[in-house]
Structure formats: structure tokens, C-alpha cells
């Protein structure tokens, strides 16, 4: 009885401290890019995550003013340099077939909407694919070119350029049909406490968003900004690279980028962000 009373006291204190220390996510701020495109950074949760999140929030809302400002103007957004590289690669012939992406797909604007739907089942219907899988499938099977490294600079430049085409479109992944098992697997991973610190994604991004873990201001760990430009790394970072860092920080053995596990997790995390605008491409610390 006494014990419960104290636990309650501790919990009450935790709430007080959290409330006092930070009012973020920022209130009353809108993410308007180039003074022109207004992105949805707060939205009611989809039915599948309504029990988990009262409101779905972009990571942008948790960043400091300077970082938020960088994302609001493409001239200031350092990711745009990589996007330019991606646009160039789109038109660059590579591989034994003498083709570029543009040879088959025409202008990159044909990719509009894709980012918002990924990951999704492949055409054969036997595997869940991230954007990187689709890109490497074209490279190896249609262009006769080498696969790019999952988080290599060519790949992130290309995923950045393709994501930009979906800027402002609402995230909306399919989680039914053959994707359902992947989603369930990803959900299980999200709530599993891993590593010597025994922390799950939910411990940090569901139970504690808005709070600080040392210097880090925890967001909901949403995917709407990806690939994001991380100021700390001074480059674009892939979704799986971010996952790897988070799992590593629980003192756990990580999964490989591109692994079936991370693709399943990507689908589940994407579903938690349903309705957020694709930022194409975010800026984070």
C-alpha cells in the first residue's frame, strides 16, 4: 500500500517536472515552406494508433527555432544540395543497358506521391519494399548497374530528390492484405524492450515525447521528414540509419539497414504518422 503511494508520488513528480521544463512541441507555429507551401505537422491519429497517440506530431515541432527556420526556406535547407545531386543522378546514364532513371520514368515529377505510400509490397507481392529497394531493383535489373549502398550518398541523394516530389502529400501506407503481417511484426518490435538498457521505441517516442533525455528533446520519432538532413552528421540520413542509432542507444545488437526487420518497423512507424505531410526533406539536429 505504502509502496503504491510512493510510486504514485514519483509519477506525480515526473509529471510536474516534465510540465515545467519544456512547453514544446512548439504551439502556434506552422511549417510553411518558401512562404508558400503549408505542411500538416499535427493531425489526429489514424484508427490503428488512436490508442497510442492523442495527436500525431512531426519531429519539426520539437526542434529549436533556428533548425525549424532552416527547413522553411529551400535556400537555407542544407539538404537541397544533396537533392540537386539526386536530380542529376536521375538523368545520369549508368550500367550495361545505357539507361538512366529518366529513360524509363521521364521527369522525376512522375514519382509524385510515392514517398507517402512507402514502404509497400513489391509487384510480385512477396516482399515489403522500402524506397531503397525499388531504386536498387531498377539499377540492378533494368539498368545493369551496381546496387547503391543503403545509406550511401548516392542513395540518400536519390531518396531525397524523390521524396521532394511528394512534399505536402499526406503519409498513408497500406497496412492491410499481405502488408498486415509486416505491420504486426513492426508493431511488436516497436514495443519490445531491447538491449542492456531494456528500452523500446515506445519508451522514448510514445511515453516521453516532449521530454528531454540528456540534451535530446524527444519527438514522436515520425518519418515525415525523411530522408532528413542531420546537422550533426552534415548529411542526409536514411530511415534505417536512424533506426540503427536508436537501437544501438539501448545497448542492443542492431539490425542491418535494409533488413526485413527494419522494413517491417518502417511500415509500422510510417502508419503511426498517417496524415502528416511529407516534408521532403527535413532538417534535424
Amino acid at each position: 500500500m505504502l509502496r503504491q503511494g510512493r510510486t504514485f508520488l514519483a509519477a506525480a513528480l515526473a509529471v510536474c517536472v516534465a510540465g515545467a521544463a519544456s512547453a514544446d512541441p512548439v504551439e502556434g507555429e506552422e511549417l510553411v515552406i518558401n512562404g508558400d507551401i503549408t505542411l500538416v505537422t499535427r493531425v489526429a491519429p489514424a484508427a490503428s494508433v488512436a490508442d497510442a497517440l492523442p495527436e500525431v506530431l512531426s519531429g519539426w515541432l520539437f526542434r529549436d527555432e533556428a533548425t525549424r527556420a532552416m527547413e522553411m526556406d529551400d535556400f537555407d535547407n542544407p539538404a537541397m544540395l544533396a537533392v540537386d545531386v539526386g536530380l542529376e543522378l536521375w538523368d545520369t546514364v549508368d550500367g550495361s543497358e545505357g539507361k538512366s532513371c529518366a529513360s524509363c520514368h521521364g521527369d522525376i515529377s512522375s514519382m509524385k506521391g510515392l514517398r507517402a505510400k512507402l514502404p509497400k509490397m513489391n509487384a510480385a507481392g512477396d516482399d515489403l519494399w522500402s524506397m531503397e529497394n525499388f531504386i536498387n531493383d531498377c539499377r540492378t535489373n533494368r539498368m545493369g548497374a551496381d546496387a547503391w549502398k543503403w545509406s550511401g550518398s548516392e542513395m540518400t541523394a536519390m531518396t531525397g530528390a524523390i521524396s521532394l516530389q511528394s512534399r505536402g502529400m499526406p503519409m498513408s501506407v497500406a497496412i492491410d492484405g499481405p502488408a498486415a503481417e509486416w505491420w504486426a511484426k513492426g508493431k511488436e518490435m516497436y514495443y519490445t524492450r531491447t538491449g542492456q538498457l531494456e528500452l523500446s521505441c515506445a519508451n522514448c517516442h510514445e511515453d516521453n515525447y516532449g521530454n528531454h533525455i540528456r540534451a535530446d528533446h524527444l519527438s514522436q520519432g515520425q518519418l515525415s521528414g525523411f530522408p532528413v538532413y542531420r546537422l550533426k552528421n552534415a548529411k542526409l540520413v536514411s530511415i534505417h540509419n536512424r533506426f540503427k542509432g536508436c537501437v544501438r542507444d539501448t545497448r542492443a545488437e542492431t539490425y542491418a539497414e535494409g533488413s526485413p526487420e527494419f522494413r517491417a518497423l518502417e511500415l509500422y512507424v510510417a502508419s503511426r504518422g498517417e496524415g502528416l505531410s511529407i516534408e521532403g526533406v527535413g532538417v534535424r539536429p
Partner: protein, 156 residues
């Protein structure tokens, strides 16, 4: 010189009577509390303060505010502030919380510092690589006692 000092320190340690350090598996929790010192001796509060701010060790400030450590930047607020912790908890209860807080707070997010597993996908520190075999606890028995010695000073 440095080597000699280290050798000296090692000799002193070796010379100490084999004090009954309680192995992880033999720790007894009563309502979450651990009555006896894990080393059989009192800890060193100053050393405890260091353990609590070191990222690879306790890293308690990642989640807790400790106003008595104004020089430590970026104290987190995942858990309650530790100010006045010794007014709320006895030494034995604090020892239990540091060793394995899940006995006191069911399902707590607070890591278990004097535990050896089992863990899901246990890694080798912060390398992201797997670790085969039994991991040593995050804190040694002595470090737990040092932290407890610091915590009992936190009175308001």
C-alpha cells in the same frame, strides 16, 4: 610512474580482505529494498557523483534532474527530480532502486544497473554489435554503493 601507481593500487585492492561482495544472482529484494551493502562496506559519495554523470556508467542525469549538480549541463526529465530523494526513501530502498528499479516500480523505464540479463538482443556497450555470453552488470557492486552513498545526501 603512472604504471607503478596503478600497480600499487592493484596490490592494495588485492590485499584487501576478500569482502563479501554480493553477486547479482544472490541479491535479496524485500519490497524492492536491499538491506545490506552489496560490498559489505559503505560507498564513497564523491565517486558516486561521478558514476551518476558518466554516460557509459550510471548516466542518471540523462533522465533525472539533480539540482545539487549545477555544473552538469542538460539534465533530463524522463524520471522525477532526485532532489530530496533521501527524504522519500531509506538507504535500503535507494539501493534497491539503483540495483533494479523494476522491483520498486513495475515496468519502469529506468534501466536495471545491477543485473546480468536476460536481455533481448544484448549488445556490446554502445557499439551496436551483439555480445555473446553473460554481460557484466552496468555498475559494479562498488559503484552501486558509491551511488547510494551520494543519494543519501540528497535531503531537502
Amino acid at each position: 610512474m603512472k604504471q607503478q601507481m596503478m600497480l600499487g593500487a592493484a596490490l592494495v585492492l588485492a590485499a584487501l580482505p576478500a569482502m563479501a561482495e554480493t553477486p547479482v544472482a544472490e541479491v535479496k529484494y524485500v519490497d524492492g529494498a536491499i538491506a545490506e551493502s552489496l560490498t559489505g562496506a559503505p560507498g564513497d559519495a564523491a565517486a558516486g557523483a561521478k558514476v551518476m554523470t558518466n554516460r557509459g556508467q550510471g548516466n542518471c542525469v540523462a533522465c533525472h534532474v539533480i539540482s545539487a549538480m549545477p555544473d552538469v549541463p542538460f539534465q533530463g526529465n524522463i524520471g522525477p527530480t532526485l532532489d530530496g530523494a533521501a527524504d522519500r526513501w531509506t538507504e535500503a530502498e535507494l539501493r534497491g532502486i539503483v540495483a533494479d528499479a523494476k522491483h520498486t516500480f513495475e515496468g519502469s523505464m529506468m534501466p536495471s544497473f545491477y543485473k546480468t540479463g536476460p536481455y533481448i538482443r544484448q549488445g556490446d556497450g554502445y557499439t551496436g554489435k551483439g555480445f555473446e555470453g553473460t554481460l557484466p552488470p552496468i555498475l559494479t557492486a562498488e559503484q552501486v554503493e558509491d551511488v547510494v552513498a551520494y543519494l543519501v545526501t540528497l535531503k531537502e
